[in-house]
């Protein structure tokens, strides 16, 4: 009996660890959501009947890396929305832990920077853990498939957060371009430094 108890505890512990590390891998089907946009409307992936896929960007107001990428995220949307891959930005942080990420602050940022894409609040922080976002910014490129929205790329926007002019590899653009041309994506998973998500 005692052994069984220990076993149960270990099993529980293991499942907690695996939960903490869970998240989508390339090829998985990503969940839809219904999250509030800065304009007050609810946004879901299923609203986009005409799109071929999505560029989901987990981001926030307060992370310097996210801020460094704001203009580039806007440019991504402008370039790809007409090609069927709109940007959807999701703010991951708990505003109670990070006051600069409140809905009001998000609205102000979206207005000041002229965001052309939805900027959604992950209220209750249920969505980013399902995707497995570990930091901001963290991008998931999805492509519509019969089964749902399939994850095609996970990682960084490009390889130079400091200087947009010195970027060598535009990882997200390369991935979406490959999808549009029906070619395999060369790099499906990249890493970059980012801010931890505030819970």
């Amino acid at each position: 009996m005692y052994k069984l108890k220990i076993f149960t505890v270990i099993a529980l512990f293991m499942s907690v660890i695996s939960m903490a590390q869970s998240g989508y891998k390339v090829g998985d089907i990503a969940t839809d959501f219904s999250l509030e946009n800065v304009d007050g409307k609810m946004v879901s992936l299923s609203d986009y009947s005409q799109s071929k896929g999505f560029i989901i960007v987990f981001t926030c107001n307060t992370c310097p890396f996210s801020v460094a990428y704001e203009d580039r995220i806007n440019a991504l949307n402008k370039k790809y929305v007409s090609k069927g891959y709109p940007v959807i930005a999701i703010m991951t942080n708990n505003p109670a832990a990070s006051p600069g990420d409140s809905m009001e602050a998000m609205q102000a940022r979206a207005k000041a920077k002229g965001f052309t894409f939805p900027y959604l609040m992950d209220k209750g922080q249920h969505i980013y853990p399902k995707y497995g976002a570990a930091k901001t910014p963290h991008v998931y490129v999805l492509q519509k498939a019969k089964k749902g929205n399939q994850v095609k790329y996970i990682g960084a926007i490009d390889d130079n957060y400091q200087h947009p002019d010195s970027v060598n590899q535009k990882y997200v653009e390369n991935a979406v371009d490959a999808l549009l041309e029906d070619q395999p994506i060369k790099e499906t998973h990249t890493r970059a430094v980012g801010c931890t998500i505030k819970i």
Partner: protein, 172 residues
Amino acid sequence: MRYLLILLVFSLISCKNEREVKAHESASTEVQKSDLEIVDFKGLEKYLSTNTDKTYIVNFWATWCAPCIKELPYFETLNKKYSDKNVEVILVSLDFPHVYETKLKPFIAENNLESKVVVLNDMDSNTWIPKVDKSWSGAIPATLIFNKEERVFFEKAFTYAELEHEINQFLK
């Protein structure tokens, strides 16, 4: 005409002065910058392994990272408390170059950081992040503890008790 000449002379003088001031300023920033050890990943690699009997704690942080700043005093305390046990803390800053003078150096001075600070400036993070640890997403704070035999990596913020527990595992 005379006025014009005087004006020209004056403007030449003021130009010269300005240039001198600028030259002087840039010289002094050069000196200040040399206080920070700024490296690319190749330069950092020597801090990420050892052949000696020392145990190293390498913490990746930045002045903009709130959870990093919160745990920084724990690393400082540990560095002092365990210095006689052959333990050394190295703080690897990932701050942006444009804040080296305005934020990073003042932060190091104001908080009297005694642990060694190395500044990593290497854009190719997709290449170097997995070299630090395969499991690292790139989020900070992150901490590497190693000696010549063992190596553990944490993508998390520590409490002092947790940090001391981990280092004691190494000193057993």
